[in-house]
């Protein structure tokens, strides 16, 4: 038994952790356990990769199985870390088609959570790039799922939070890049209207995201810094870097050495940070390396410890575009009034989604984190109501506290998901603390 948690360190649970090494061992584990869930690198925030009876550590099956340099098509085992993919293929001129805000995620986890990135408005979610995947079902059999075979299971598994089976392998295409750099343009927006207008004007950019000051009120409500980016061409690099376009300057990794006391992040410290960050940030164009652009928080290992031993809850919701303005205004007003916002608040315009349990839908998504306190949990329940009233939904990969009833409002594709899952796993053997809480 080991105490496990998601990245938010809330909730924690004593789980029996079983290493899965290869199909034969996984099949044996399935034969011996009535209830289990696969776990990648534990970067979902809440309780989606926790099962006290049996949590399967998938990180050992991490081999690259096939790569075609002509097309960028890669087949790899589910436990392969995105960081490993980048380290191996960026020097050869390839980059993941979609990346979340951390590279310390496994391919299996990326598929199960159907993660999205700063290019969702153009590229869709990671699941949209998966050409096929091999899934081990509850009975131990392995099926290949793709758009042309086992389509229902394919759709249910991408975003299915590991509840359809154990993802073993997947095939997807990397995209060609000329350098390890991003041409980034930073723009300042004074309020929500300006922020949304900037997103609209940035539709043709490959990447766009905004850091939003969720503690600003009244006239400054929704003020933000919008960053948009393109993969830099080799010709854009300064002469000194042109010979080694995939080399990035070595950076020191920083660690948060210990848990901060729970009071360290409070409305005053966060407001002060946000104010300084908003005013000081340099606007304009800059060449930044991919780590700084995509994974600024990865440079601070264990940043989740900033929230102290109690942990954090991350809240990410999306509001359909036609109701985004009203919905975001209501959310931001409520958050600012509570003075509870974080300094890691992110706003992004998503493109159309795919349904079932996959999170994205066309509209604005807002993500922020809160200390895992009872006051925060009360606030999040209020935010759920605002999101529901505006036809939006919350993201299960971040969730640790949603109620089953709310889920039904949020995901109209739930019935389709449940029937696909029922067909694959009638006894519901793939289960997590989250799936039980949500009556999935």
């Amino acid at each position: 038994m080991r105490e496990l948690s998601g990245w938010g360190r809330y909730p924690r649970a004593e789980c029996r952790v079983i290493a899965g090494r290869g199909e034969a061992e996984l099949r044996a584990v399935l034969a011996q356990n009535d209830s289990l869930i696969a776990r990648g690198n534990g970067r979902s925030y809440g309780d989606s990769a926790l099962n006290p009876a049996a949590t399967l550590a998938m990180c050992h099956d991490d081999r690259l199985l096939d790569f075609d340099p002509a097309t960028g098509r890669l087949t790899a085992e589910a436990g392969v870390m995105l960081a490993d993919v980048i380290a191996t293929f960026l020097p050869r001129g390839f980059f993941p088609p979609v990346t979340p805000g951390t590279k310390f995620v496994t391919l299996g986890g990326m598929i199960a959570a159907d993660v999205h990135g700063k290019n969702h408005h153009r590229a869709g979610s990671f699941g949209d790039h998966v050409e096929s995947l091999d899934l081990m079902l509850a009975g131990g059999g392995v099926v290949t799922c793709s758009a042309s075979s086992n389509r229902d299971l394919f759709d249910a598994t991408r975003g299915g939070m590991g509840l359809t089976g154990i993802i073993l392998r997947a095939t997807f295409r990397l995209i060609p890049v000329e350098t390890a750099y991003i041409r980034q343009e930073t723009l300042r927006a004074r309020d929500l209207d300006e922020t949304m207008e900037l997103f609209e004007r940035s539709r043709d950019w490959t990447y766009s995201v905004a850091w939003i000051d969720c503690l600003a009120r009244n006239g400054g409500l929704g003020r933000s810094l919008l960053m948009r980016g393109e993969h830099a061409a080799a010709a854009e690099l300064p002469d000194s870097r042109r010979a080694t376009p995939f080399a990035v300057p070595a950076k020191g990794e920083k660690r948060v050495p210990l848990d901060l006391p729970a009071c360290a992040l409070n409305r005053w410290s966060v407001r002060a940070f946000n104010g300084v960050y908003y005013r000081r940030a340099g606007t304009g164009v800059a060449l930044v390396d991919y780590d700084r652009f995509f994974y600024p928080l990865d440079a601070i290992l264990d940043w989740n410890r900033l929230y102290g031993r109690q942990g954090l809850v991350q809240y990410q919701c999306v509001i359909p575009k036609d109701r985004s303005r009203a919905g975001l205004t209501a959310l931001l007003e409520r958050i600012a009034r509570a003075g509870a916002g974080s300094f890691l608040s992110v706003l992004k315009l998503l493109g159309p989604g795919r349904g079932m349990l996959s999170f994205p839908l066309e509209g604005y998504t807002l993500a922020l984190d809160f200390p895992a306190s009872s006051a925060s949990l009360d606030l999040l329940r209020e935010l759920d109501a605002i999101v529901a009233a505006h036809g939006g939904r919350v993201y299960l990969a971040k969730d640790a506290r949603l109620e089953a009833e709310a889920l039904r409002h949020f995901y109209p594709g739930l019935e389709a998901f449940l029937s696909a899952r029922k067909a694959a796993d009638p006894a519901g053997r793939f289960a997590s603390l989250q799936s039980r809480r949500l009556a999935l």
Partner: protein, 245 residues
């Protein structure tokens, strides 16, 4: 000639070592009891850049077959790294000598036999590197794992003696002893260890790469272990014997 032979290639540490060397474009020979299990690894290592890679059958306990095994490789590899290791239940080994003996043969007798033979052949050729993965458990016997520890102690002493013998004979063949400390591997599954003292398999691999390129004879993967073990070795026996750890 520049090929690297990895003995005990299915372990987590061996996989990390294979990957680190594949990325440098080396030729790899993966030796394991069940080489068929390594099929996905062969694909993986080729994609990661290995010049060539193959899997061969090898049983460290079959000491009588070691010469034939090395013969079967064709050319003697430039480097041989032994990652073979086996830990079973200490309590059982206290009453069941067959269990104890299996640990002794797996961690000491077998590895010493194969590396001794490889070293002799390298010495005759006039070049080569021997790398043995030993353990902090071999530095002082503890109630918790002294059967395993005693075998590792024997292995560490064997490597040390072999290194001196070759140095005295002015042979260019190098012997490197690697002391990993705790590593997050299958062996440690289910055990909680302090994160400061627990290395990732990839750290072991990069430490080995560095030691092979540099001139180290004996390395601790995490330098803090050098201090920890110096303290543990310095404890007087009458104090040590009463410690529960």
């Amino acid at each position: 000639m520049n090929a690297m032979l990895i003995l005990g290639a299915t372990s987590d540490i061996a996989r990390a070592i294979s990957r680190a060397y594949a990325a440098t474009g080396r030729t790899l020979i993966l030796a394991a009891r069940e080489p068929a299990r390594l099929a996905p690894d062969l694909a993986d290592l080729r994609i990661r850049g290995a010049a060539d890679v193959r899997a061969v059958e090898f049983d460290v306990l079959d000491t009588a077959g070691h010469k034939a095994f090395l013969d079967s490789l064709g050319e003697l590899p430039g480097t041989v790294v032994c990652v073979v290791g086996f830990m079973s239940d200490q309590a059982r080994a206290e009453t069941d000598f067959a269990a104890a003996e299996l640990m002794m043969r797996s961690n000491y007798v077998g590895p010493a036999a194969i590396l001794g033979e490889a070293a002799n052949r390298m010495a005759a050729r006039g070049s080569g590197t021997i790398i043995g993965i030993s353990s902090v458990a071999g530095e002082r016997g503890r109630a918790k794992n002294y059967v395993y520890g005693s075998a590792k102690a024997g292995f560490t002493a064997f490597l040390s003696g072999l290194r001196q013998r070759l140095a005295l004979a002015k042979s260019p063949v190098r012997v490197i002893t690697v002391i990993p400390g705790w590593v997050r591997t299958a062996m440690l599954e289910g055990t909680e260890t302090p994160s400061l003292l627990t290395a990732e398999p990839a750290e072991v691999a990069s430490a080995i790469l560095k030691a092979e390129a540099g001139g180290s004879d004996r390395i601790y993967v995490r330098p803090v272990w050098r201090l920890v073990m110096a303290l543990i070795r310095a404890l007087p026996e009458r104090v040590f014997k009463k410690l529960k750890f």
